[in-house]
Amino acid sequence: MRAFITVLGKDTVGILAKVSTACAEENISILEVTQSVLQDIFVMIMLVDMDNATKTISQMQEKFDVLGEKTNLKIHIMHEDIFNSMHRI
């Protein structure tokens, strides 16, 4: 199962490292990463593979909530199907 992780906030050093470390700790494999700046907000999107993950999406969301609080970032993780159904016909 694949999921999208979105990270929004102020650009600081080490965002990618922190989020990817959190993924590595739970055996989540990162497939693609894009990052850009939209209206002065740093946006990073990761497509990840969770087939061998040690945590579920909701558990990962809790972990990201804690990390987001510490780093002043908004981090979301959502199932890939949601995006595919909404944006692909």
Binding site: F4, I45, I57, S58, M78, H79, I82, S85, M86, H87
Partner: protein, 452 residues
Amino acid sequence: MINTHDIIETVNMIDNENLDVRTITMGISLLSCIDEDIDKACTKVYDKICRYAKDLVKTGENISSEYGIPIIHKRISVTPIAMLASACQTQKIVKFALALEKASQSVGVNFIGGYSALVQKGFSDGDYALMESIPEALSITDHVCASVNVGSTKAGINMDAVKMMGSIIKKTAELTADRDCIGAAKLVVFCNAPEDNPFMAGAMHGVGEPDCEINVGVSGPGVVRAALTKCENYNLSEIAEVIKKTAFKITRTGQLVAQEASRRLGVPFGIVDLSLAPTPAVGDSVAHILEEMGLEECGCFGTTAALALLNDAVKKGGVMASSHVGGLSGAFIPVTEDAGMISAARSGCLTLNKLEAMTAVCSVGLDMINIPGDTTPEVISAIIADEAAIGMVNSKTTAVRVIPAIGKHAGDELSFGGLLGEGPVMAVNTKSPYKFIHRGGRIPAPLQSLKN
């Protein structure tokens, strides 16, 4: 990979704009539970519901947490109980309500609909007994919802049933007067009731439906409003396009959840109900969408036209997003459940007359409206008759869910809590339709040609 803008849009919809799937409703046929001994029938009803719906709540919660989409309600609709009541040699039909209540608590759903009768052309014994028992049934249960269909485009309007329902609504409110008359908030009177509606209080599982199915109701007024805030200088053709595209996206989410729930529960997928269902939460209001289109306040002239545009665009966008569409499908205008409607009703801008006009172009009818406690049963019946006439003539579903606020007057408030919300008691025209209502009989079905 899907582009960044689209991904952020989806995350925003859920995080900031209250996108959710409003309800997964499991429809269960109880025709196999018919028994002339009501106690045996009740046991069969309880057992069947518990057997079919035992994993419903857990499955809903799992889908919700795995997909990151809130699923607010898990509910059950059943075969209109009047059909089971017809077989029983007793008047104590209220036992069915207790069986439904017990089953709803065992499986953990927050509402169970189907304490219903379809009497658009006339009554069977079971219909009559069930209708008589509604006030008691709704006062001794918390999760059971009742509905009665009193008219249809094909059959006309059963005015004897309309007359009865005025008294039944009043009595239901009186029996629950100590709880802000909440009984009447669980009772709806329909014309052209859909048989696959997943939304309460009118959910029922019609006789043409399969043994069991999953119906899903989507939501998302907040998402539509947020999309319109970016359309400052658009004309109405462009506004309609934006609403259509947004409705498409909202409905795709509902379709995904419906298919997943159907697969996991091993139950056929029925329909997605394309509805904009508001909640009292800030930013989740249908009235605010209308105001975003350019009305100073919901209820002013222009409201009916704006609602017609919204309702039609929601359907057009949603139809392509789902393989099967049904239920009520359209924009809801429940006054006490919509922050914008509540404030428009409080300010006096939104009146009962305007709401009646709005029901001619939206998905349901006069919904969640508090009326003065001294409103006579005949006036309530006449409100139902007017609303049913709009539905009958226009071949659409209309409904009445009014709450007589016992002991209160126009301007006072009722508060139900939760999604049922709160709101002011609205003034009602008190001139008497007594003679008209007491004539009884049926209003004949309307002509389907010579449409003007």
